[in-house]
Symmetry: C2
Subunit: 241 residues, 2 copies
């Protein structure tokens, strides 16, 4: 039997090069959007609604009585109540609530994947690495790993997550994709200390300037919030088999 | 003194993210355009004129009595006389002649760099690795390493060349660029056997299907044709200090 294909898009600016039609697209925004999304859902959030602007976040938050969250330049955006840190969403706070989250890179990529006809959109991050791998192997469908990157610039942390997925699932897919090969190499090189590996990166410098080392360590640790966020009609909810 | 910056653009689709204004842009199309360009110049070609279509190649070739060359899908394009292999341009053949070369990925990237205001455009490949490194270090100006990729898709061989350059010049530049860090990691991982490293890649599969292993080995060998092609008013000529 022919194996399904797996490709890695290293930036939203490259997503159009891949055939998303009917495929599973994994949205990857390791620091910190997709790590926070899976954490909020794992901790009992009813759903997470990703929106692309602060204005929409405020408007929707009022309308549905949701928790409004999002950052711009490392601070909680004006008019919103909470930030992008996974530690802001413990069970004691988020259980049963709806989180309306505005992110820039991740939300835009999700919208692009929708526009390009993706069959199923899920979010991936180290805290739900196993859930992502188990799902894409079980589904036996074509997969595109979509790195959210940083304002379209390639970033290492999202690529490392793509590499981690590939290292676990590669025998189940036909992978004829240099980006995927490179992502796996980078992961194999760094897997023993991912935190050390991201220290020279742009995003590490940006976030450590805000004292977010603890966030970053969490966002690089596998399976701490191991559920599968799946996009369903405007909302991210936990996938149920 | 502040060091100049160095960035790596992994695909022409990402080039617009970098500030090329006044910078040195290194066009990288390892298999095989930029390897062939440096080889033809090293072997005495008067100049190499890159053009973006077969029609322009034929027209210009007639007008200036040049050698017309270019391939499409691994064969010499209809109407042209020669192909993309560096071995087609020994001194005995090319000395004193003008090579009009049509390539797709490389020529397009060069045009984009011109449009974006690049200060100086040079071409890079393993056969002229040292010439590229010596030039960019001596110039003390901002550098963008531009991978030609394959139809905008990231490729490993161009990235490995970027990594080779970075590994040699990095102490002379301020490098705050995840693509450059990743390129150097990939190069360090593969440098002991670059040929082995590109075996799983898309381009290797494509070219080995045409029996071009010898070309690929040459295109991964440093300093076999160690001159510096520099773009000057429509032509690539050897840079003279």
């Amino acid at each position: 039997m022919k194996k399904p294909t797996l490709y890695t898009s290293l930036s939203p600016a490259l997503l159009h090069l891949y055939d998303l039609d009917g495929a599973i697209v994994v949205i990857i925004d390791v620091l910190r959007a997709t790590s926070t999304i899976t954490t909020a859902l794992f901790n009992g959030a009813k759903c997470v609604i990703p929106v692309d602007s602060v204005a929409k976040c405020i408007e929707l938050g009022k309308k549905i009585d949701g928790i409004t969250a999002g950052e711009r330049d490392g601070k909680i955006a004006e008019g919103l109540k909470y930030g992008n840190s996974p530690f802001e969403y413990p069970s004691s706070f988020i259980k049963g609530k709806t989180l309306v989250l505005t992110t820039t890179n991740g939300t835009r990529l999700l919208q692009m994947a929708l526009d390009e006809g993706a069959g199923t959109i899920i979010t991936g991050s180290f805290p739900n690495l196993s859930a992502v791998c188990d799902f894409i192997v079980a589904q036996k469908r074509n997969v595109v790993l979509g790195c959210a990157a940083w304002k379209d610039k390639f970033n290492i942390e999202d690529t490392l997550f793509a590499g981690a997925v590939i290292s676990r699932v590669k025998e189940h897919f036909d992978i004829n994709c240099d980006s995927s090969i490179a992502a796996e190499h980078l992961y194999q090189l760094s897997k023993d200390d991912l935190y050390e590996a991201i220290k020279p990166t742009s995003h590490f410098k940006r976030l450590s300037g805000f004292g977010l080392e603890k966030d970053m360590r969490y966002c690089l640790t596998p399976d701490q919030a191991n559920v599968l966020p799946v996009y369903d009609n405007g909302k991210l909810i936990i996938y149920k088999n």
